[in-house]
């Protein structure tokens, strides 16, 4: 009802004019794109570029944030006074300063690297500059990279399936051999993929070289992307650390005592017993936090990383179709976050402790 009223009211004001503009060409550039894009691409494509960039950012920074979170969480429960103190300081600083300011800080730090004209490549081929980090890359097409990634993901999925169903079969050695074979095949396909997808007329390996005002060749990681990844991981890490810490606190002390009584080393107790249990305990809260953290990746706009939000925002300014674009923004995030939560919920179900009779 309300939606309907809104639609008629808006139409009467001439404020919405439908989604026809998506077909129009944008006329502006996007500095970082995973798929082909030029000034003559359509709005729809620009939005897709933004969506992919956001996903890319999420794929890089969410695992990193988790890693940092776990490390800090461990520091805060380690028993070493200094580590605990620093862990606490870390959380209090990075949790309590707005992410946008942290982003500016990291960005300024990266820009303070020498300019490409003065930068000497380390090890002959890696250059750290204020314009980005240049590393050697492969001259292959984007599609072949995509296929290779898919192959590796499929390999991982099959591997996990094997692990899950391993008790259905008796011979574990057999399964292990199968898994090794699986990985060999996957790597072979990956290499083949790159070989088939190499760009004609170029050497397979591409090294960065100084040319003109910038470096050329190889893979360049722009400081914008890096600043975003660092800022999100560091910021998200502070929140995740708190959750992990509460997880560690909730693991019964008897668990590590039992581990130690069995003669396991401190690290073994941590890696095999406390960490897996803590992660299971905090999984639901973590899903909440991941969904939130993914939304926090919409900071690129501040430093010119073209993420989903920035494309929408630019499109709003360029086309003026505010309400349609806000609608697309909502739909995009709904789709991504629902999928994220769905996947994580499946993971949660897969690793859930079995049975309810346990006495702990």
């Amino acid at each position: 009802m309300m939606v309907l009223t809104a639609r008629t009211n808006l139409a009467a004001q001439g404020l919405t004019s439908g989604f026809g503009f998506l077909e129009r060409t944008t006329g502006w550039r996007i500095s970082f794109s995973l798929i082909e894009y030029s000034t003559s691409s359509t709005y729809a494509r620009a939005i897709l570029v933004g969506l992919l960039n956001s996903l890319f950012l999420g794929v890089l920074s969410l695992p990193l944030a988790t890693l940092i979170g776990i490390s800090i969480g461990v520091m805060r429960t380690s028993g070493n006074g200094m580590a605990e103190l620093l862990g606490t300081i870390y959380v209090e600083i990075f949790r309590n300063v707005p992410i946008i300011l942290q982003l500016f800080f990291w960005y300024a730090l990266l820009l303070a690297l020498p300019s490409p004209r003065n930068a000497d490549p380390i090890l002959g081929s890696i250059a750290l500059t204020g314009r980005g980090i240049y590393i050697p890359g492969l001259n292959v097409s984007g599609a072949s990279v995509l296929v290779a990634v898919l192959i590796l993901l499929a390999g991982a999925a099959l591997h996990l399936r094997g692990r899950k169903t391993r008790w259905a079969r008796a011979d574990r050695g057999q399964i292990r051999r199968e898994q090794r074979f699986l990985w060999a095949v996957a790597s072979l396909f990956t290499v083949m993929c790159f070989w088939l997808g190499r760009l004609p007329g170029t050497p397979l390996l591409s090294l960065p070289e100084a040319r003109g005002l910038n470096f050329d060749g190889g893979i360049s990681i722009s400081p914008e992307l890096m600043a975003c990844v660092i800022a999100i991981s560091v910021y998200g890490g502070a929140y995740i650390a708190e959750i992990i810490r509460s997880g560690f606190n909730a693991v019964p002390k008897g668990m590590s005592e039992a581990g130690r009584a069995l003669g396991l080393s401190g690290f073994q107790v941590f890696a095999r017993i406390r960490l897996p249990l803590a992660i299971r305990i905090v999984m639901p809260t973590m899903i909440n936090q991941f969904v939130w953290l993914f939304k926090a990746t919409t900071i690129g706009i501040a430093i010119s990383f073209t993420d989903f939000f920035m494309v929408i925002s630019t499109s709003i300014n360029q086309s003026g179709q505010t309400l349609e674009l806000i609608g697309i923004l909502m739909a995009g995030f709904l789709a991504i976050n629902y999928s994220l939560a769905w996947v994580l919920n499946r993971v949660n179900d897969a690793i859930a402790l079995r049975g309810t009779q346990l006495r702990m």
Partner: protein, 327 residues
């Protein structure tokens, strides 16, 4: 007021309300909307709002409310009636004019986008920055214009867009970009306060784009649009006739010509046709001054920017502005 004004016109609503709700910014836009040490708005856009309020009500004091709004919010806010008029450095584009059912007044400012580069690069024109990186302000049409310009002139350069002017400038100074594309006042202000001294930066002469900035009202409200156009015309008229806020009283007491007498409301007619008081132009000039006063005060010789009039001068000084005929 006059019966000629349509009942559903925004003009009538505003006059009945006794208050003009004019767009502000959600931060600052150098030269157009800034906040002074006491938290009061100033800038070209703000002065135009004040002029409009003074024209409508005799004085802007207590009759004007600057409503802070963001860029994304300006069109919906105008349509929903949260604000009466958008004076917010908004360029006149076809899609806005047609798709969005907005109406633009005559342009009140022609912004030129130029490039500032590090002097050590020795660049003299934009073409010398080929292969480099340019930082561009996102938001208005700059971004698109820059891309078009580079393509048209066959210059290979990377473009980085920044939403926020401060960040744009910082990135440039930190060496992220070889050049910075921005609206001229912004460049000028940045150069003066460059951390390593103004002499280390040059503003390249290439004009990347022109954008005609106008006042925006909802389409189909001719009475209200007329007010905007005649307000701008009056400001230029005053400049052309040498009327300023200082001498306006003298001139009114002693009008040099019949047209000026009509303009300042000494003889009736100038306001009535618009549905306003006849001395509305006088009130306006008295309170904010002529166009040249507004320009000088905010971005011209009287400000830290010290920007030339250039295109924004009157036609007789080589610019593009002119008053319309008062009969």
């Amino acid at each position: 007021a006059s019966s000629e004004v349509a009942d559903d016109s925004r003009l009538k609503t505003v006059l009945d309300r006794g208050l003009l709700q004019c767009s502000g910014h959600n931060g600052s836009f150098l030269g157009f909307a800034e906040v002074n040490d006491e938290g009061n708005w100033k800038g070209i856009d703000i002065d135009l709002c004040r002029a409009l309020a003074a024209g409508l009500f005799g004085t802007a004091k207590d009759n004007l409310e600057i409503v802070p709004i963001s860029w994304a919010q300006r069109w919906p806010a105008l349509q929903s009636g949260d604000i009466d008029v958008v004076i917010k450095a908004s360029g006149w584009t076809q899609s806005r004019d047609t798709d969005l059912n907005l109406a633009f007044s005559r342009p009140y400012f022609i912004s030129t986008y130029q490039t500032m580069a590090h002097a050590e690069l020795g660049a003299e024109t934009l073409a010398d920055l080929g292969g480099g990186t340019l930082c561009v302000g996102a938001g208005t049409s700059t971004e698109r214009a820059a891309a078009t310009y580079l393509e048209a002139n066959n210059i290979e350069a990377e473009l980085l867009t920044f939403e926020n002017g401060d960040e744009l400038r910082n990135s440039y100074y930190e060496g992220r970009c070889d050049g910075q594309v921005e609206i001229a006042p912004g460049l000028a202000a940045g150069r003066v306060d460059a951390p390593n001294g103004a002499e280390n930066h040059v503003i390249l002469p290439d004009v990347i784009a022109l954008e005609a900035v106008g006042i925006v009202v909802p389409e189909g409200d001719d009475d209200w649009l007329d007010i905007q156009n005649w307000m701008l015309s009056s400001l230029w008229f005053a400049e052309a006739e040498g009327i300023t806020s200082e001498n306006v009283d003298d001139i009114r007491a002693n009008p040099p010509s019949e047209v000026v007498a009509k303009f300042l409301g000494v003889t009736p007619g100038y306001g009535e046709r618009l549905g306003l008081d006849d001395d509305w132009a006088y009130n306006m000039i008295k309170e904010v001054g002529s166009y040249s006063e507004i320009y000088d005060r905010n971005i011209g010789s009287g400000s830290r920017y010290g920007l030339e009039r250039g295109l924004n001068a009157l036609y007789k000084d080589g610019g593009v502005f002119y008053p319309m005929i008062i009969d």
